[in-house]
């Protein structure tokens, strides 16, 4: 469990750094040039690390199912959704909803056990946990807005 949490914390910290860096690129180059650059570099870095850790195995596609090739397109949905939401709602409200939705769908997926996930039944305790987290997210985002 601690191991899993550590990975999640590393991912979250890097996402926050990435958001700051990317928004600076976005100011100058717009969202599609930024997205292309970000995903292009992510691809290159993954390939290099993959070659380092998995060797030629990186090019072994025998286990690939057809839809695996399309999973990356979800990223396009992410960028479109967030850019449009900020346009209509402003950053604070938009990001609060994005974070809430992220967590809501996470609970949904765990409790349904879709896509080979281990099914985690949705208990009252989980409901309370998620509610408190959401309260924290919203409190954080709105106090941030007052600051600016």
């Amino acid at each position: 469990m601690v191991f899993g949490l550590l990975f999640a914390i590393v991912a979250g910290a890097l996402v926050s750094l990435q958001n700051i860096f990317n928004s600076k690129v976005n100011e100058k180059a717009g969202s599609w040039a930024t997205t292309s650059l970000v995903l292009g570099l992510g691809f290159a870095a993954s390939l290099v690390l993959g070659l380092a850790f998995e060797g030629g195995q990186v090019f072994n596609f025998s286990q690939m199912k057809w839809w695996y090739w399309f999973s990356g397109l979800l990223g396009i949905g992410v960028v479109t959704g967030i850019v449009q939401a900020i346009k209509y709602l402003g950053p604070t409200f938009a990001i609060s909803i994005v974070l809430t939705s992220q967590l809501g769908f996470a609970v949904l997926w765990d409790s349904l056990g879709w896509m080979g996930l281990e099914k985690v039944p949705f208990t009252q305790q989980q409901f309370i946990g998620v509610l408190i987290i959401l309260g924290g997210v919203i409190l954080f985002k709105w106090s941030e807005r007052k600051a600016t």
Binding site: G4, L5, A8, I9, V10, A11, G12, A13, S16, L17, Q18, I20, F21, N22, V25, K28, A29, W32, T35, S36, L39, G40, L41, G42, L49, E54, Q57, V58, M64, Y68, W69, S71, G72, G77, I82, A85, Y88, F93, A94, I97, L99, S101, Q102, G104, A106, W109, L117, Q125, I128, G129, I132, I133, L134, G135, G136, V137, L139, F140, S143, A147
Partner: protein
Amino acid sequence: MKGLVFAILGGGFITLQGVANSRISQDVGTWQTATITQLTGFLMAFLILVVAGGRGSWQELKKVQPLYLIGGTFGAIVVFSNVTAIHFIGVTLTVSAMLIAQLGMTVMIDRNGWFNLKKQKIKLPQLLGITMMVAGVMILGM
């Protein structure tokens, strides 16, 4: 209303991406998963850029301070860690812990004024918000 739908879809896609990637990595390696998904995402984004006639904006990248251009490389570690975390602790805990780290890091960057951002004091409601999130995660993990 329109904005709300976009925000909900955006967040939903972020989570779905983590779930899909962790499913894919059961069949192929985790680095391979990160490589493939970001390659197809890149190709699509680039296609949209070209079709939308925004190729000129590629030139604008030269005006960006070089450090900020390399943010994309973090994506490799983000996808890898996200997938590995989901394998260990499930989607809900992974997303929760990621959100805490994300907001916590933002506070730290703001407080220290890193990356030329305006230095900001931490406010009580922000601390309270993060504390609530940590408490919530502890309840989830119990």
